[in-house]
């Protein structure tokens, strides 16, 4: 059993498919959704954890890619702009999973996309507008 945190981006035409149902039923995957924006006739986004047998996860992803869904592993929908970030650390107490934290040197801020749950708390708590959401 492995867990992969992924972002799915649906083109406009594919938001009608009940894809979570198919991932559970056809590929035997456990699904934990963090954030979703799916509006009929518009582009859609889904950020979730897929848990299951690795081969099934790969098959599920291949099925999604097959009808035009983009699957992103690094990018979870939260953008952290390193150029705008000044490493002040005001966001740190507001990031529940420590995705935003100081590096070993205790002064340079870093963002670990793998830990981000896209709660978006960082956005209003960055005085410099370094954090933004893709959707």
């Amino acid at each position: 059993m492995v867990t992969k945190r992924l972002l799915f981006f649906f083109p406009r035409c594919e938001t009608e498919k009940p894809i979570v149902y198919h991932l559970v039923k056809d590929f035997d995957l456990e699904i934990n959704i963090f954030r979703a924006k799916v509006t009929p006739d518009e582009e859609g986004y889904l950020v979730l954890d897929l848990t299951g047998n690795e081969a099934n996860i790969d098959k599920g992803i291949a099925w999604l890619v097959g009808f035009g869904v983009e699957v992103r592993e690094q990018d979870k929908g939260l953008r952290w702009d390193q150029e705008r970030c000044v490493s002040c650390g005001n966001c740190i107490p507001h990031c529940p999973t420590k995705a935003l934290r100081f590096e070993e040197d205790k002064r340079t801020l870093g963002f670990d996309g793998a830990k981000c749950i896209v709660c978006l708390n960082c956005i209003p708590n960055c005085p410099y507008g370094a954090c933004s959401s893709m959707f």
Binding site: V86, S87, C88, G89, N90, C91, I92, P93, H94, F102, K106, R107, T108, L109, P124, N125, P127, Y128, G129
Partner: protein, 400 residues
Amino acid sequence: MEQIKSVSEINARIEKGKAVVMTAEEVIGYVERKGLEAAAKEIDVVTTATFGPMCSSGAFLNVGHSKPKIRITEATLDDVEAYAGVAAVDLYIGATQLPVNSPKNSYFPGEFRFGGGHIIEKLVRGESVRLFARSYGTEDYPVKEISTEITLADLNQAIMTNPRNCYQNYNVAINSSAETLYTYLGALKPNFGSIGYSSAGQLSPLLNDPYYRSIGIGSKVWLAGAPGIVYAAGTQHSPDAERGENGVPVDGAGTLGLTADMKQMLPEFVRGVSIKGYGVSLSLGIAIPIPITSLEVLKWCTVRDEEIFAPVIDYAVDYPQATGKMLTRVNYAELRRGEVRLFDRLIETGSFSSYEKALKAANLLADSIRAGEFTVNAPVMSLPTQGSSRPMKIVPPQGV
């Protein structure tokens, strides 16, 4: 205080490209290894620095005379009001000014995405800003309205003039209430859930010169990359603040009024700031050199984060009500560690100042001193070493 080197001897070494320069961080370990006396003979200059929101900042802009002329009485820059009561085409844009139609805190907490600090950032970046100006019209200045685009390069002068920067030390904010509290030190979690602070600690200029012996009126500074000076003691300068055994204030204390040419500034160190539920401001990177003229001056430069204490203040009650109450004191080593043990629990800290950017500013200044491009000086006048900021006197209106 026995002098071991004069400022002119130090400048002669700077001009030859032979000056020994260290940041206020590097000097701590160096003095520990070499001993104070040996290190003092060797080191010419220590660079101090800070980076963080500096309310009480702004800039005088001379926008040039239009043809025909206007004597501006009201002006906005990208809809942010600039003060026009200075002269015909001189304006002052303040860091905390909001756009004319800003919803402010009408829908609480307001976002405050844009304001005076952002106008200053845009200008330093070389971006254009829309100037809208009005006048009542006079015989010598007939034009009554103007709308145009301006850039920093178009301005005759852009003189950043900040009444209060470089607070010697600062409050540490905490929230005793049951709701999130939106302050200028960040959003504070309820029930003492988080801490907000803002100081470069051991790097900060006036924490390395606690009694203002090296930094004073006329001292040269590096203001966001531009050569500038301390033109006055800053507003709210309060040298009478309580001090620890090392002479370092354990409260706000001293401040500096700074000025420099905006046209020479680096955009990286001039940043508009949006503080949710509070307002806008301007973050600046500032570095100030301390010429090492005596053992005592060097000793003060070796101050460490763990020796600098700041007051923890409840921003839910004691700060807004000005009760003067302080909960406890913590040091900057604890704050920078990310968690402080208070009231038998660990509380996460969030900082509004950037140690990384402050260190970068200190290193950039050190590099230009080493390269012989930036000489140092002694103050023309000392900053006041006595006095404190008084509260406002409230006189109710009479006979209305």
